[in-house]
């Protein structure tokens, strides 16, 4: 809320400098987001007196004026307005002035006559609403004074929190200032001067829906003359961010800002009579009703809309916007003032349904003090009479005149201290509360012993010893204080949060729990060490990406895992289609990131992300953690001593094997995945790795992106290797403990074996044959070379293995090793291979 300080001073004396005041309000919970010097643009605009006004020699519609601005020669200024006369004091923008809207004033020739500046309208200065005439200043405005010194103001931008609707007003904020400084609050005069006619003879109101309109107060002012509001009022409204419209309409905005009470005014002649009196009805709309609102849009009204109507037609949407047919305009002479209380939820929903939310409806949404309906009606009637003339009929039409008593909230000063960690004695707590008009009483009756610990929607009350409790009597405007904890906050707030001690907890510790981040962090560190950079991408992607980049390959399920399931989850109110579906997989995001970086000139991109995939399984949602990888270009950084080598499937598999090693899993078994449409059919692999105990703990797919998708991703011809892996423990857990053995004491024996097989035979099947045939003493079998070419046949390859034999209890004999090799040789023959010698 914008708070002009000169206006705020109507209600409370302020001696603090603006930045000090802002600081104090902020520390009180009324956060001042900015301090604006209002009228800073008027620095080169000064008060001048019109010495002469003559017709422009060359233009009928212009005048040539001579203006005295206090020093030097009077200035000749050309002016187009017709409301000026000799002797008036007017704002003069001197050459060099920059008016609102960045309008620069220079010395210029206008129709052959030099103009040494400009006479300004209120609108040009953003000071009043009048754009037609020059702003005529007070006759005693000191000539030559800069307007910024005369009308400049300081405007605080206060962020009033949603629970403090009462402070969304100048009076409300003045109360807060008063709490800070102790200066008393000054209420504006609200009683209107009344004539002899009873309002009940002129106006009747029928509230058919008291649940939605708990109170409706009406006032009658007639004989008004609609015109501009006093300039002082217009200036205030402008500074507060409202556009002045007319004296009557400005009353509504003025009272809303002043008291926080939205007011509506009707042209009484636009309201139909019943029994010779204007008759207003508050009711819900019926199907098919239409209303032209004052923004000149005609709206079809739904039955959940609360209306103000007469017997014929709707006149306005309650609390939202008035109708055009009863709008106060130039010809209006008789005014009905409406000061009502509408249900906050009804107003909120209606505003949202029609996308019509205003300063007024926001105040209704936050709830209104019941008393304000009466006070606002009085104040508005008084101001209409004051600013637009006219006569106020005696009394009010009031649908529910009863006003509630202040609420009593019993609280325990000791409990306040227990919550805050303070030792503020009860008397001091009472004194603090008194500063915001919360009276405190010693608990006496049975009901004072019932302390409300929690309120709706889960209320809890406890009986306490009467000696423990005090009763806080809550002023009617503080609708936010209903339970003991609210009183605690008020004590803390008024006493200042500085006064709360800063200590460290000495209470019981929770039991240990494995961190869900632990395994992710192990993997992240391992991958960063291997040269991959971590990315974090949007979980919300385009429908196209969600559809295209989803895996179809069937993966072996890991133990306790969460397989990707179901259909994608869509956002029903997305901001843009690009972010409207929760991604089922990471791969699409990674491809997009690689593509972006390649287009920005990167040749080598090695990235990973540990993130979630999402899907719906019937009516429930599922989320699953995955590791995604993408490699394009060199993984090893090329240098003067090493040529550049683009990453291939082997590099990606190596990264997966590194992860397995880091987490204590066995190396993964690889198998082909030629059916996966996202991948090159000949370069797609499925990884499956188990823990030492044989449980499947890692499962995923690794491969080269299919050339069709690679082309779409605009990778400049580079090959992109991607992987998406499920790992046990990514969602939380601790890594398995490594079981360490003493180094073997017996020497190991090595044998190299070159095995020739057909090109179609996979290395994994040869490795399997070796392991099965070698007997218990084979410690490892590592593929160290693949050879193709003479003297092998064209469809053959030679796989060279380094076999390490090792027994725990003895040195293996030559005979034993030869026997194992012979067994391997036979097994290899069985899969169609032979030993190359």
């Amino acid at each position: 809320m914008r708070v002009p300080l000169s206006w705020l001073r109507d209600y409370v004396d302020i001696e603090l400098a603006p930045d000090m005041l802002a600081d104090r309000l902020t520390l009180l919970g009324m956060e001042v987001k900015g301090i604006e010097r209002w009228g800073a643009e008027w620095r080169n605009v000064v008060v001048g007196e019109l010495l002469s006004v003559e017709k422009h020699p060359n233009a009928d519609r212009l005048s040539l004026t001579r203006v005295y601005v206090g020093d030097g020669e009077p200035l000749d200024i050309v002016c187009g307005a017709i409301n000026i006369a000799v002797g008036q004091r007017v704002p003069v923008a001197l050459p060099g002035a920059v008016l609102p809207g960045d309008r620069r004033i220079e010395r210029t020739a206008k129709m052959g006559v030099v103009s040494n500046g400009m006479l300004c309208s209120g609108d040009e200065l953003n000071i009043t609403g009048d754009a037609d005439g020059i702003l005529i200043l007070a006759a005693d405005a000191p000539i030559g004074t800069a307007l910024t010194d005369l009308y400049g103001d300081t405007v605080l931008d206060v962020d009033v929190k949603p629970n403090r609707g009462d402070a969304l007003s100048l009076v409300g904020l003045a109360r807060e200032v008063s709490a800070v400084t102790g200066a008393p609050l000054r209420w504006p005069d609200t009683d209107p001067p009344e004539d002899g006619r009873a309002v009940g003879d002129l106006l009747t109101v029928e509230v058919r829906d008291p649940d939605w309109c708990s109170r409706f107060v009406g006032r009658w002012v007639d004989g008004v003359m609609v015109g501009p509001a006093p300039e002082r009022v217009q200036m205030r409204l402008r500074a507060a961010g409202q556009r002045p419209i007319s004296n009557v309409v400005d009353v509504s905005n003025y009272v809303m800002l002043e008291l926080g009470k939205p007011i509506h005014t009707y042209d009484a002649d636009g309201v139909a009579e019943r029994d010779g009196r204007r008759h207003l009805v508050v009711r819900r709309a019926v199907g098919g009703e239409r209303l032209e609102t004052i923004d000149h849009a005609t709206r079809e009204l739904d039955p959940d809309t609360l209306l103000i109507a007469d017997d014929r037609v709707p006149l306005g949407m309650a609390g939202i916007m008035g109708g055009a047919s009863s709008e106060v305009g130039e010809g209006t002479t008789r005014v009905i003032v409406e000061s009502a209380i509408f249900d906050s939820i009804v107003i909120r929903r209606t505003g949202q349904r029609y996308a019509l939310r205003s300063e007024a409806s926001l105040r209704f949404e936050k709830g209104q003090e019941v008393r304000l309906a009466r006070i606002g009606a009085d104040r508005a009637a008084r101001l209409v009479a004051e600013w637009a003339g006219g006569s106020v009929a005696r009394g009010r039409v009031d649908s529910a005149p009863a006003e509630p008593e202040p609420a009593r909230v019993p609280f325990r000063p000791a409990r306040v201290n227990r919550l805050l960690g303070t030792a503020i004695d009860p008397a001091a707590q009472r004194a603090l509360l008194a500063r915001v008009d919360i009276e405190t009483l010693v608990a006496t009756g049975a009901r004072d012993r019932v302390v409300q610990v929690a309120a709706d929607p889960r209320p809890l009350a406890v009986d306490v010893e009467i000696t423990e409790a005090l009763v806080a009597v809550i002023p009617t405007w503080r609708r936010d204080i209903t339970i003991e904890a609210d009183v605690s906050e008020e004590v803390a707030r008024i006493g200042g949060y500085d006064a709360i001690p800063s200590i460290l907890p000495d209470t019981a510790m929770p039991p240990w729990r494995p961190s869900p981040l632990a395994i992710r962090d192990l993997v992240r560190e391992a991958l960063a060490g291997a040269g991959l950079t971590e990315v974090v991408s949007h979980a919300l992607v385009s429908p196209r990406m969600a559809e295209t980049y989803a895996w179809t390959v069937e993966l072996p399920p890991i133990e306790g895992g969460s397989p990707a399931v179901g259909r994608p989850i869509h956002v029903t109110n997305p901001l843009s289609a690009d972010h409207s579906v929760l991604r089922p997989a990471l791969v699409g995001s990674l491809v997009e990131i690689v593509s972006t970086n390649v287009r920005r000139g990167r040749d080598d991109v090695a990235i990973f992300e540990i993130g979630k995939g999402y899907g719906r399984d019937g009516d429930s949602s599922r989320e699953w953690w995955r590791l995604g990888l993408a490699l394009v270009g060199a993984l090893e950084e090329p240098s003067w001593s090493r040529p550049r080598r683009p990453a291939d499937l082997g590099d990606a598999k190596g990264v997966v094997e590194l992860v397995c090693g880091r987490l204590g899993f066995d190396p993964p078994a690889w198998s082909g995945a030629p059916e996966e449409p996202l991948l090159h059919p000949g370069r797609a692999a499925v990884a499956a790795a188990t823990t030492g105990h044989g449980r499947l703990a890692l499962s995923g797919v690794v491969g080269e992106l299919h050339p069709t998708f690679a082309a779409e991703a605009d990778l400049r011809g580079a090959r992109l290797i991607v992987a998406e892996i499920e790992i046990a423990g990514l969602a939380g857990g601790r890594p398995a403990d490594i079981q360490a053995l003493a180094p073997p004491r017996q020497p190991a024996a090595e044998r190299d074996l070159a095995i020739v097989v057909a090109e179609t035979v996979e290395a994994a099947s040869v490795a399997g044959a070796i392991r099965r045939a070698a007997g218990p003493d084979l410690a490892s079998a590592a593929l160290f070379d693949i050879y193709r070419g003479a003297p092998l046949a064209a469809d053959e390859k030679s796989l060279a293995w380094r076999l390490v034999f090792q027994a725990e209890d003895r040195t293996l004999t030559e005979v034993e090793i030869e026997a194992a090799v012979a067994s391997i040789t036979r097994a290899v023959a069985a899969v169609g291979g032979r030993i190359r010698t």
Partner: protein
């Protein structure tokens, strides 16, 4: 052959050998000469064979002379050997000299994402104070995201969270990590010290300071005696751990429906040090998180008796924490994943 001849021959062999040693240019020539003179069939052996022909009386005398000559020759070989090996090593070292000013053979190191690293650091700091980490789902229900946090339907405070809804009845994308408070309270009895990091979503047009997806870390501490003073002390420690032990912090009233009292927590402006600058809107302070004492209604929804238990909760935007530390001015950079941006975070500095 008599004693004099033999003595002469020995001395002459010694002198010749010393001369030849001087001429031996390298270790190979030295080794050849050694074989020639001192080898099993070498010249010294040949000369000494003459001893057998001498009369018995002369033998001890010539033996002594022969030993002297052998020692002299061996000493000469050793001296020359040292010289020649030294020269050869020096030559090898000269030949093996490389240009030591070329850059090293690079080892590519990946960089961890600043958001994830900030989350980890926050978890580590609070871990020191006994906070354990939990996670909750991102697709939440309205009940847990709002209602159980004391934000009923149509509550004006709902304006604080512009929400993205999904095509499952009653479900939405969590707007904050606060629903984790309910999940933790219903999962574990006090004492609770929980940290809940995670991804959140808002219906928010994306610009330099607004994101539709972002990360938060929620904290929750509940037991019988946790006070607002504990909250204040802990957050002060947190800010000092993150931003430096000399940083001042400030507690001021805030508003959240799920805390009462509520707190906005400020740290002195990291740009101007508190004197006021555009970065802190001239206030000298930067707000880094919101907090407060858990609202009794929320405790009840968490299954706890608010008469017995009390505690605090806090929530922070990870991007904001990271922004302030790394002088990043545009939120979009984090999810843009331009490697030129991310790779800067690999330069770990050593703080004071």
């Amino acid at each position: 052959m008599d004693l004099a001849d033999l003595t002469r021959d020995l001395e002459s062999l010694r002198d010749e050998t010393v001369f030849s040693l001087g001429a031996a240019a390298d270790v190979a020539a030295l080794d050849a000469l050694e074989l020639d003179v001192l080898g099993k069939k070498g010249r010294l052996t040949v000369v000494l064979r003459g001893i057998g022909a001498l009369p018995g009386d002369d033998r001890p005398r010539v033996g002594a002379i022969a030993n002297q000559v052998r020692e002299a020759i061996e000493a000469a070989f050793a001296a020359r050997g040292t010289e020649l090996h030294g020269a050869e090593l020096a030559a090898r070292l000269r030949a093996e000299t490389v240009d030591v000013t070329t850059p090293g053979r690079p080892i590519r190191r990946g960089v961890l994402h600043p958001i994830e690293e900030t989350v980890r650091e926050i978890a580590e700091i609070f871990g020191q104070f006994g906070f354990v980490t939990y996670e909750g789902p991102e697709v939440e229900d309205d009940l847990t995201n709002f209602q159980m946090l004391n934000i009923p339907p149509d509550h004006p405070a709902r304006d604080l969270w512009d929400t993205l809804y999904v095509d499952i009845e009653g479900q939405l994308l969590r707007t904050h990590t606060s629903p984790g408070q309910i999940r933790v309270m219903t999962a574990t009895p006090p004492p609770i010290r929980a940290l809940l990091p995670g991804r959140c979503y808002r219906y928010e047009a994306i610009d330099a300071s607004h994101a539709s997806e972002f990360f938060q870390v929620e904290g929750l501490m509940v037991d019988e005696g946790t006070t607002m003073g504990d909250l204040k002390g802990l957050l002060d420690q947190f800010a000092k751990a993150l931003y430096g032990a000399d940083k001042r912090t400030r507690f001021r009233p805030g508003y959240y429906p799920f805390t009462e009292p509520s707190v906005a927590f400020d740290v002195e402006c990291l740009v101007c040090g508190g004197s006021g600058c555009p970065a802190c809107s001239r206030s000298g302070w930067m707000t880094i998180l919101g907090a407060g004492m858990v609202h009794p209604v929320v405790l009840q929804y968490g299954g706890l008796d608010p008469e017995r238990y009390q505690g605090f909760a806090f929530g922070m935007g990870v991007e904001r924490i990271a922004n302030l530390r790394h002088s990043v001015g545009d939120l979009r950079l984090y999810m843009d994943n331009d490697l030129r941006f991310l790779e800067q975070f690999g330069r770990a500095g050593v703080g004071s």
